[in-house]
């Protein structure tokens, strides 16, 4: 006999209860293959097919390519683990990994900023909330290329607005986006600036979901606005914060567009700002080394998965589901 008793046997013994079928008005049983279920599958089919074709299948392919020397015009040859060995050996990879993690940390700065702004925007009696929200949201829906170009002008050492403003305070000119010591922070600032609007929407919705009763009770007990924020808003917002933190880290790890737009190939700060994804682009599309690039992409996926896993483990310590 099998080690595990079959489901049928378990059912017979009464250990597993058979799902109760709902009887229709005419008395015929309506099994799980009813029309509604078919409709449900029909509805998810477009997304599911798209997901399989455009995400899962390429992922499997990428994994396969990462073990090959990928001919630029076809004809891949098996390499085994060489590509992974190269990824581990290459100094630029480690540098890019370090930069990428730093982008992740800088990206997280967005959260406290967005929460503060969300709390301020949610005050009762504030006029023109819609306008403020729109203003914060506009950078997020603007094309990253446009954002990068505009910020490059602001940062420019020759005629940039930022230097002009800093010169009022006696700060001397600086090439913010092309000096290796400041370029990564310059890009990080744009990253934060650009994504505030997105997290703002999440947090405003989260704050709105907190019952007013709590605030009223706290007010009766004499709690001031700061205390109410830390004792009510923040803990009850923690599920939203957790969600935002996961998304935020993943987004920062995938940073590419800003670097691509803001760093020209002759920018001396290129090496100190390059992220894993921009290195991937360089390997795959400029150096014709798709095999190694695929291996790099897989390393990034593992890193992302690991960080997300850690976040999920840690959430038990600080996220309150009311």
């Amino acid at each position: 006999m099998a080690v595990f008793p079959s489901t049928a046997a378990a059912e017979a013994e009464g250990r597993i209860r058979k799902p109760r079928t709902k009887a229709g008005r005419d008395g015929t049983a309506r099994g799980p293959n009813s029309r509604t279920q078919k409709a449900a599958y029909a509805f998810i089919a477009p997304i599911a097919v798209g997901f399989l074709v455009f995400y899962i299948w390429p992922m499997i392919q990428t994994f396969g390519y990462s073990f090959t020397s990928f001919g630029p015009f076809g004809g891949n040859s098996w390499l085994g683990g060489d590509n992974y060995a190269r990824v581990v050996r290459d100094v630029t990879v480690w540098r890019a990994l370090g930069n990428t993690l730093l982008y992740g940390v800088i990206g997280l700065v967005t959260l406290p900023v967005s929460i503060t702004v969300a709390a301020l925007l949610n005050r009762r009696g504030l006029r023109g909330v819609g306008v403020y929200r729109a203003l914060y949201f506009i950078p997020f829906v603007t094309l990253p290329v446009a954002v990068g170009l505009v910020w490059n002008w602001l940062y420019n050492g020759n005629f940039g607005l930022l230097n002009e403003m800093l010169s009022w305070f006696g700060v001397s000119r600086h090439f913010w986006a092309s000096d290796p010591s400041s370029a990564l922070w310059a890009i990080g600032l744009v990253l934060v600036w650009q994504s505030i609007g997105y997290y703002l929407i999440i947090f405003i919705a989260g704050i709105k979901a907190i019952p007013q009763d709590y605030y009223e009770a706290a007010e009766l007990d004499g709690a001031g606005p700061v205390r109410r924020f830390f004792r009510i808003t923040l803990p009850l917002l923690s599920p939203s914060i957790f969600f935002a933190a996961v998304i935020c880290v993943i987004n920062s790890l995938q940073l590419f567009d800003l670097i691509y737009v803001m760093m020209s190939p002759t920018n001396p700060a290129l090496g100190s700002t390059q992220s894993v994804v921009s290195l991937f682009y360089q390997w795959a599309f400029q150096q014709n080394n798709q095999g190694a690039a695929a291996a790099l992409a897989f390393v990034l996926m593992l890193l992302t998965a690991a960080l997300t896993y850690v976040q999920f483990r840690l959430q038990k310590k600080w996220v309150h589901y009311a």
Partner: protein, 423 residues
């Protein structure tokens, strides 16, 4: 009912889109001629040259009524990725532009048609094109590309700024010492004018100076960056940055040296002959700009690069494609190209039209330099070590760190990249 029509509509639209797509590609052939006509596609990347190329195509079609040419312009930024993808998919153009960086990669992978036998059969005047260029497009003893145009690098200067500083204009007698002296005298912090743009740019700046110092970039599969002479060539530029006679590279990351020259913030700039039309289009530079041969280091040198026309090995219309490439390699096409003023045609003796198109500049210097021009260095996977160059030389070019150690590191890493090419 309504849902069904929507679905049917969506399904019906799909083949329609597909039909439009293929219709677009084929429309060139159907509109321009009747039956029996072969249409070949010609892939190029420079919209500035489109008008000239169209004229050449017209001249070609007049002589060859059985072939018509459909020019496809793909912007430079996506030209090579698009080409590679279309090669895999079998939709690559029959004839297309090739450059030095990519020729060996394409030739080694067998996606280009060897043109030697065709050229021998039709007596294509390869000898009328600069030898260095013809060689650039040969790989493993076979000729894959026929040169189309060429570029050498010259010293552009701003006469108004020279007059203001009381410095004599550059000429063929100039050496690197003259260049340094002039850069010092032309630099004026008060008016924020720099003597020269010491930009980290391989083709227009540090390759010519490496060759001028007697160094090399690539020889027999080894990197020349660790060579003492090469370092000397690089140091010409980093010295100018260190002394403050040129803006640092960080200042030229977003605003190119070329633009600083055009806006009269630098007095001298090494630049390509292909940029002459840009200079000519800028009123101030047209008015008081000039160009001279590159100042002499240990040796006289400049770098030469040019594009070539190649035929795809996967083309199903190779005879027609070759007919077109052969036409492009001859005098008539070269003359049309020169008259356009955008590029110097590589066909010897047809450059007069180009020289005359911008009489304000002494463009003849670009042709004078052909005698000692060194071909643009390239290997099987040039892009890999070219990436390394900018990555590692950025610091010394922005006034941080020594050029010796950066160049030596570059030499080592480039050698490793070259070793990997042979695998």
């Amino acid at each position: 009912m309504r849902r069904r029509t929507l679905l049917a509509g969506a399904l019906a639209a799909t083949p329609l889109v597909a039909a439009c797509d293929s219709g677009g590609g084929a429309s060139g052939s159907t509109s321009s001629g009747g039956g029996g006509r072969t249409t070949i596609s010609y892939g190029i990347w420079d919209p500035a040259q489109l008008a000239g190329m169209q004229q050449i195509v017209k001249a070609f079609e007049a002589k060859n009524p059985d072939v018509s040419v459909d020019i496809q312009v793909t912007p430079w930024s996506s030209y090579w990725t698009t080409l590679r993808t279309s090669m895999r998919g079998g939709t690559a153009p029959d004839v297309f532009w090739m450059n030095a960086v990519n020729i060996q990669l394409y030739a080694a992978n067998g996606v280009l048609e060897p043109l030697g036998p065709y050229a021998a059969r039709d007596r294509t005047p390869l000898g009328r094109h600069p030898e260095a260029l013809v060689e650039l497009y040969a790989y493993d003893g076979k000729q894959y590309g026929i040169p189309k145009d060429f570029d050498t690098v010259g010293l552009w200067y701003n006469k108004a700024l020279f007059d203001k500083a009381g410095v004599g204009y550059p000429d063929a007698s100039w050496t690197w010492d003259d260049l340094r002296d002039a850069a010092r005298e032309l630099t004026n912090p008060r008016t924020r004018v720099y003597g020269i743009a010491a930009e980290m740019d391989r083709q227009k700046n540090f390759y010519p100076s490496i060759f001028g110092a007697g160094g090399y970039v690539l020889r027999e599969g080894r990197s020349g960056f660790g060579d003492e002479r090469s370092v000397e060539g690089l140091r010409l530029w980093t010295d100018l940055v260190d002394r403050g006679w040129s803006p640092p590279q960080s200042a030229m990351a977003d605003v190119k040296g070329r633009n600083l020259f055009l806006s009269e913030q630098v007095a001298m700039n090494y630049d390509l002959s292909a940029m002459a039309s840009f200079m000519h289009a800028t009123p101030a530079i047209k008015d008081h700009g000039g160009v001279a041969v590159l100042p002499k280091g240990r040796e006289r040198a400049t770098v030469i690069h040019g594009l070539a026309n190649v035929v795809s090995a996967k083309s199903r219309k190779k005879q027609a494609a070759w007919k077109f490439v052969d036409f492009l390699a001859r005098r008539e096409a070269a003359e049309i190209q020169s008259k356009g003023g955008v590029t110097i045609s590589s066909y010897t003796g047809t450059q007069d039209a180009w020289l005359r198109s911008m009489p304000e500049f002494d463009l003849k210097v670009f042709i004078d330099m052909l005698d000692y021009a060194v071909p643009y260095p390239s290997s099987r996977n040039t892009a890999v070590w070219e990436d390394l160059e900018y990555l590692l030389l950025g610091a010394p070019f922005s006034g941080k760190g020594s050029i010796e150690s950066a160049a030596r590191t570059l030499g080592r890493q480039m050698d490793r990249a070259l070793d990997e090419e042979d695998k």
